[in-house]
């Protein structure tokens, strides 16, 4: 007997898995999502956050472009608060770009993408950051920023309200089968090692770049090509709208203003494993150099960190490589293909089209389960917490107005001063069982994502682990150290100028003032005997 039972187990806590969980729950199908890390900790959370208008695909991948157009419009309805309608520019800076333009215009027309040619003067009036190298400009109003963390959390929250469950740090180690029929999954808690089983009628493999590994547990092949992309985060927005190179999609050709920062993207390198994502200096350098061709201030801005994500490109068997491969997606019906009933994979695609992907795979699974309730995810808004989710950009003004005469709105405290995270933004997540680490808090609240990269707020968060979560000191201290360490790994790639000076402030605070390095050593010692503190006199 499995430990628990449900209708459908969804594997993968990225945008697709979260979207599937919501779709299932909205059709009245009981579901549990299992994710071996945190929600949005894989491909989704490491995307550059571009809400694709479709402009980047309209020449080479028309089908994907058309999906983007449609899904972008749907997301603006159902997930308004996760989106910032920045609009976007497609700019030409070279002869090659100019030669690409007719194809781009034609592609936009075919895909139904609104695209307006504007004069460089007009463009620069609207967006002073456009560089001197820019020769021609198209305005694409439907480009935008999609906050990948809010998107996933919003989907999961919506599903939870309908009875679904999401279990983080829960890895699938095997399946329970009854002949050809899957009847459940075996899972292991990646932190505690605890093993459990979940009985179910169907399993949806929504693990993106990891889909092949999950399928292999059933001796089934799913060919996903992991393609690494490196991104650089600048400490402020640089531009008000997204800026794309108007050319065949290539390295370093996009700038996304994302809430308080700007993200430069990206590269495309095939990697042997979705978790082997080395960040090469040449990639970082290339992002900054290419970005500065499009916008002023890119090379002079403070680079805050670099990170790498992995695209889950589905190998349809064509000869295509990396970017040439379709960003389209596929639903693999393993019952039909491999004779394993109750197992379905959804592969390929991109964050912008997550909902459509979820709809398609849920359609199939629901049909098999005999559920006829139609999909409503394109109509029903994602969450009821609209007002709470879109506040970051308005927070500076909301943080309290001292009025010396008469009533005074109190100045609110902040947990993270860089990203304006208030205590009330953090507190609820400490009660969420899915949240295990401070990185998880970061993904849900942006705490620690600003220029100081958690130097200050990590202490306050550690304190809350003790006071709100009742963890012991060493556990909370380790969590604080891990948050700092994870941040450090991203910042290391851009250690020059201000960021190197910042590093000295971080080491001064944690290693000198707090003596955190010794604390960690003391904790690592087998039994912290009183003698460890020195001879008592």
């Amino acid at each position: 007997m499995p430990d628990t039972t449900t209708g459908v187990v969804v594997i993968g806590g990225g945008s697709t898995g979260a979207g599937v969980l919501r779709d299932l729950s909205m059709r009245g199908i009981e579901a549990v999502l299992v994710e071996k890390g945190d929600l949005a900790s894989g491909t989704t959370g490491r995307s550059h956050g571009l809400l694709h208008s479709g402009g980047r695909y309209c020449v080479n991948d028309l089908a994907a472009a058309i999906e983007c157009v449609e899904e972008g419009r749907i997301l603006r309805r159902i997930a308004r608060t996760t989106i910032e309608d920045t609009g976007g520019y497609f700019v030409s800076v070279s002869e090659e770009d100019l030669a690409w333009e007719p194809r781009f215009v034609e592609g936009c027309a075919k895909a139904g993408i609104t695209c307006e040619r504007i004069s460089v003067e007009e463009a620069r009036r609207r967006e002073p950051a456009l560089s001197q190298h820019v020769r021609t400009v198209f305005w694409i109003p439907e480009d935008g920023h999609l906050d990948p963390f809010y998107l996933v959390m919003g989907n999961v929250e919506s599903a939870r309200r309908r009875g679904a469950q999401a279990r983080t740090y829960t890895e699938v180690t095997g399946f329970i089968r009854d002949g050809n029929q899957l009847t459940g999954v075996l899972t292991r808690d990646t932190m505690t090692g605890e093993e459990t089983s979940i009985g179910c009628k169907a399993v949806i493999n929504a693990t993106g770049a990891w889909a092949g590994f999950v399928a292999r547990l059933l001796d089934v092949e799913v060919k996903v090509v992991p393609v690494k992309g490196v991104m650089v985060v600048l400490s402020h927005r640089v531009a008000h709208a997204t800026i794309n190179r108007c050319h065949k999609p290539g390295d370093g050709d996009i700038i996304v203003p994302a809430l308080s920062v700007a993200i430069l993207g990206t590269t495309a390198v095939k990697v042997p494993h979705p978790e082997v994502l080395p960040i090469e200096w040449d990639e970082v350098r290339h992002m900054i150099e290419e970005g500065s061709l499009m916008a002023d201030g890119v090379s002079t801005a403070r680079a805050m960190r670099a990170y790498a994500g992995v695209r889950p490109l589905y190998d349809l068997g064509a000869e295509a490589e990396g970017r040439e491969m379709s960003r389209n997606f596929a639903v693999i019906d393993h019952e039909q293909r491999d004779g394993i009933a109750g197992f379905t994979s959804i592969v390929g695609g991109k964050v912008t089209t997550y909902r459509l992907m979820a709809e398609r795979v849920t359609d199939l699974v629901a049909r098999r389960l005999g559920v006829t309730t139609p999909c409503t995810t394109a109509e029903v808004p994602l969450n009821d917490r609209d007002d709470e989710l879109d506040q970051l950009r308005h927070r500076p003004a909301q943080l309290g107005v001292p009025k010396p005469h008469g009533g005074e709105r109190p100045l609110q405290p902040l947990v993270c001063e860089c990203e304006l995270v208030r205590p009330q933004d953090v507190t609820p997540w400490f009660e969420d069982a899915a949240v295990r680490t401070l990185e998880d808090i970061r993904r849900r609240t942006r705490t620690g994502m600003g220029p100081c990269q958690a130097a200050i707020c990590s202490y306050r968060l550690a304190g809350r682990l003790v006071t709100d979560r009742h963890q012991d000191g060493p556990t909370a201290t380790r969590a604080m150290a891990e948050l700092l360490e994870t941040r450090w790994r991203g910042v290391r790639h851009v250690f020059w100028g201000s960021q190197l000076r910042q590093a000295q402030v971080t080491t001064g605070l944690h290693l000198e003032l707090f003596n955190l390095d010794r604390q960690l050593m003391l904790q690592a010692e087998p039994a912290a005997a009183p003698e460890a503190v020195g001879a008592r006199q």
Partner: protein, 422 residues
């Protein structure tokens, strides 16, 4: 502007150098590029906490520890400055603190172990009176007291950590919180706001009585966040401690650091009021050298360059953080002599993969002669009348050994002495 000796910097090294010159009757000008970014690390002055980077065993006798370090590492900045400079500089600093109205304690003979805000024992040998009762070589149980709504010191975290590395049983360390009269916990308050409130007698008395009520037992000591007064710390501390009725000690908080603020505010104010001129807002750069002598340096302030012509210069800046070095993408340069101090093909070479191990960037700095003059690494000075102190000296990495304060004292003192002789 012309002067006898120009001291550039704002950290402890610069202050010690300036005071050394002042005491010797020299006309020093303190060129201050802004408060050091690392001001908050100076809650105490740490001379040598650990003899190496891997041990958790603290150095018991810092002076002996430094002597051994000098013997083992003849190129260490401590060795260049010399043990005598550390001793004389420390005496000078202690006397200065007393003259400035501070009650600091300690000596080079012995490290105390003082709990940090995460509850880790930290070896320090010079400390304000208000921190002394925290010494973990004493036996009384400890109560960490935090304030409701104040997140920059978390008593529960400190208590939980410390109870595992110190004490006898769970009763030895515990945490309490008291609410502060007149403070609405839903609103922002910083250590500065608290420190100001503690200067008020009635406030202090009320907080003390709330703490007393929470602690029903005798013979404990109470660790509170370091917010006992913005400036007049000694009065605030002693009267508060008397009212609490138990020994009280302060623990440094997240920045804004009241302890760092008090120390630098007081020393800067004292040295100025006792006649040393200070030039505020003046980042310095560009040493003009001819015939082996620096003729002038430039200050960049109010949008233009001001020349400073001195007979000798002490450059006492803390690493990159205060502009002693400028780190480009590949090259770290010095803004005074335009040397390339380090070159990295890839920026990641500057750091270790882990934050918690020694960082290569911390050791980058100016090569110096045995008189602390900047050199190109060949033992010959770039300018005979320029002397370096503090973090800008190559090989100066106080982080792992907890030796920032001592290094600042020793190099600041020695550089000042050399500047006088130049």
């Amino acid at each position: 502007m012309k002067c006898d000796i120009a001291v550039v910097g704002s950290g402890l090294a610069a202050l010690v150098a300036t005071r050394t010159l002042q005491q010797a009757g020299r006309n020093a000008v303190l060129i201050w590029p802004g408060l050091s970014s690392l001001y908050f690390t100076y809650a105490t002055v740490d001379v040598l906490g650990y003899s190496d980077l891997t041990t958790t065993q603290p150095v018991e006798q810092p002076e002996a520890g430094v002597a051994k370090l000098i013997a083992d590492h003849p190129n260490h900045p401590y060795a260049l400055a010399g043990l005598d400079a550390l001793r004389s500089g420390t005496t000078l600093l202690i006397e200065w603190l007393r003259a400035a109205g501070f009650t600091w304690q300690g000596s080079l003979a012995r490290n105390l172990l003082l709990p940090t805000a995460i509850g880790t024992p930290k070896p320090s040998c010079l400390y304000p009176e208000s921190m002394a009762a925290g010494d973990l070589q004493r036996d009384e149980p400890i109560v960490f007291c935090g304030f409701v709504g104040y997140e920059d010191f978390v008593p529960e975290l400190a208590a939980s950590n410390l109870s595992r590395s110190w004490g006898r049983g769970d009763q030895s360390v515990r945490a309490i919180r008291v609410s502060l009269p007149g403070f609405d916990t839903s609103r922002l308050f910083t250590s500065i706001d608290l420190a100001r409130s503690f200067e008020d007698k009635a406030f202090r008395r009320e907080v003390a009585s709330r703490i007393r009520r929470e602690i029903a037992i005798d013979s404990v000591r109470v660790g509170v966040p370091a917010v006992l007064g913005l400036t007049h710390d000694t009065d605030v501390y002693s009267s508060f401690a008397a009212e609490v009725g138990h020994p009280v000690f302060e623990i440094p908080t997240l920045p804004p650091s009241v302890l760092g603020l008090r120390l630098f505010d007081r020393l800067r104010k004292h040295i100025q009021e006792s006649g040393v001129e200070m030039i505020w807002a003046a980042p310095a750069h560009e040493a003009e050298v001819s015939d082996g002598q620096c003729r002038r340096i430039y200050l960049k302030s109010a949008g233009r360059e001001h020349p400073i012509d001195a007979r000798a210069y002490v450059l006492a800046l803390e690493d990159m953080v205060d502009g002693a070095l400028r780190a480009g993408v590949h090259t770290v340069v010095d803004p005074f002599f335009h040397q390339s101090l380090a070159h990295h093909a890839v920026p990641t070479e500057r750091t270790d993969e882990s934050l918690f191990r020694p960082q290569p960037f911390a050791s980058i700095g100016y090569a110096v002669t045995d008189r602390l003059q900047p050199s190109a690494g060949d033992g010959h000075p770039l300018a005979r009348n320029v002397f370096l102190a503090g973090g800008a000296i190559a090989g100066y990495d106080p982080v792992g050994t907890k030796s920032r304060g001592g290094l600042a004292i020793a190099t600041g003192y020695r550089a000042a002495k050399e500047a006088m002789a130049a």
